[in-house]
Each structure stands twice: as structure tokens, then as C-alpha cells.
């Protein structure tokens, strides 16, 4: 089965951990993830600037490793990311900001990517919505 997974919650929220565990289970059981889409506070899961305590899980790192390992399509909504200060090098240069915290494997792109994934996937699974 083809899954699209959308995440709306920040990495310190339990929904983000559940989303990652769900995504790992999807792959472990031989299904396909057509796209991960991070929206609203979910964009912080793609930030390399998040620092966790030494005895706490580092969810942004775990997401990054997971996406790298399985060569997944990880998209971060650009509008949501810009208003939360999660920029890549290109956007930091465009808006003259000194810090970029979003790097590969994440791509900043538009909400059209969520709709496109929905059309391809058999199931859209959302985490961290209201």
C-alpha cells in the first residue's frame, strides 16, 4: 500500500514521535511512503538547529537518518517554514537571514506537494492535527 504521511506537530510533541514510529512500521512491513509532508509546527522536525538533552531522543536527527536510509521524499512546506524561521541556504540568502537550519534530505516546497502526494497515495495519514 502507498502511504502519504503528513505531520503538523513540533518534534517535542508526542505526535511527532508517533509519526516516525508509524513511518518506520510502514517501511518495515514492505509498504511504500510516497511522501512525507511537514506542515505547521511539523516543519521544526526538519530543523538541524533543534538541540535535545543528552538523555532525550533527538527526533529531528532520527527523521533525517530515516529519510536518508530509505531515500524518501521529505517535503517541508515553504510558507510554514519561512514564518517559523526554518530556512535552507537559498531562502536564508533570499531574505538576508544569517541562519539556515534545513538541509538535505529535506526540500522546501509548496502545498501542491501535499495534494500531489494525496493523489498518488492509497492512504493519507496525518499526525498532530487538531
Amino acid at each position: 500500500m502507498k502511504f502519504a504521511i503528513a505531520l503538523f506537530a513540533a518534534p517535542h510533541q508526542p505526535s511527532s514521535r508517533r509519526a516516525l514510529r508509524f513511518a518506520q512500521a510502514v517501511i518495515a512491513q514492505g509498504h511504500e511512503i510516497v511522501r512525507l509532508f511537514f506542515y505547521q509546527d511539523g516543519v521544526y522536525n526538519a530543523s538541524s538547529a533543534v538541540v535535545s538533552g543528552q538523555d532525550e531522543i533527538d527526533l529531528p536527527s532520527q527523521w533525517r537518518e530515516f529519510v536518508d536510509q530509505h531515500q524518501l521524499d521529505g517535503v517541508v512546506c515553504i510558507a510554514a517554514a519561512l514564518r517559523r524561521g526554518a530556512l535552507n541556504d537559498e531562502e536564508a540568502a533570499r531574505y538576508s537571514r544569517t541562519a539556515a537550519s534545513v538541509q538535505a534530505p529535506w526540500q522546501l516546497s509548496g502545498l501542491g506537494q501535499l495534494h500531489e502526494a494525496n493523489q498518488i497515495a492509497d492512504r493519507l495519514i496525518c499526525f498532530g492535527g487538531a
Binding site: 501542491g112 495534494h115 494525496n118 493523489q119 493519507l124 496525518c126 487538531a130
Partner: protein
């Protein structure tokens, strides 16, 4: 094409949620996708007339809401219970949203392939 129902539960000025739910609908409408929006719980407050966002130094969400039909998103619904709980009369809403009781609401959610709740 798969259809999408967006359930919009956020009050208009409580944070970016209301606008971000709306942005999903507007982006999908631009691709001519079958998209509907349901205003539920505090989301119903987005349809209240006589709001003055400039006094909160906020951009007018109403303008974006009015853009929904122009973007092809004209399947708009609001929960009768949510309106009643907030003392909002069904007759003075800022958008032509269909008022649904709880039974109709269940049928609506059942009808759509995918659901996003914000």
C-alpha cells in the same frame, strides 16, 4: 481523482491554524481538485460577521475565506452544533456554508476519500 475534506477547527485569531487550514484548500483549488471545507468547533467563529482584525494587527482572514469559491472550493459546510454552542445564528454567516447536523456531518466525512483536520 481523490477527494479531500479539510476540517477547520481553529478560531480565526488564535494563531496561524485557521489560515494554514485555508491555505491547503486554496492550494488544492488551484489544481482543480475536489476539495471541501468543514468549519467545526471554534472554526465556526471564522464565519462570524463584523470582525476587526486590524485592531489585532492581523491580516484579514475574511478576504482569504471569500476567495474559496473563486478557487473552486465551493463545497463549504459548518456544524449546526458548533454554531449553536457559540450563539451564532445560522442566517448571518460570511460564507454560503451549508449547515449540517451531527448525522449529516458523519455522512459528509464518510463521503470523502481523505480527511485533514487542523
Amino acid at each position: 481523482m481523490k477527494s479531500l475534506l479539510i476540517i477547520n477547527r481553529q478560531a480565526p485569531w488564535s494563531g496561524p491554524g485557521a489560515r494554514e487550514a485555508l491555505d491547503i484548500a486554496l492550494a488544492g483549488g488551484a489544481f482543480d481538485l475536489p476539495i471541501a471545507m468543514l468549519f467545526l468547533d471554534d472554526g465556526a467563529l471564522q464565519l462570524m460577521p463584523g470582525q476587526h482584525p486590524q485592531k489585532l494587527q492581523q491580516k484579514d482572514l475574511g478576504a482569504n475565506l471569500q476567495a474559496l469559491p473563486m478557487f473552486g472550493v465551493d463545497s463549504l459546510y459548518v456544524s449546526a452544533r458548533s454554531l449553536a454552542e457559540r450563539g451564532m445564528p445560522q442566517t448571518s454567516l460570511t460564507l454560503p456554508a451549508e449547515v449540517l447536523d451531527d448525522t449529516a456531518l458523519r455522512a459528509l466525512i464518510e463521503r470523502y476519500d481523505q480527511v485533514v483536520t487542523i
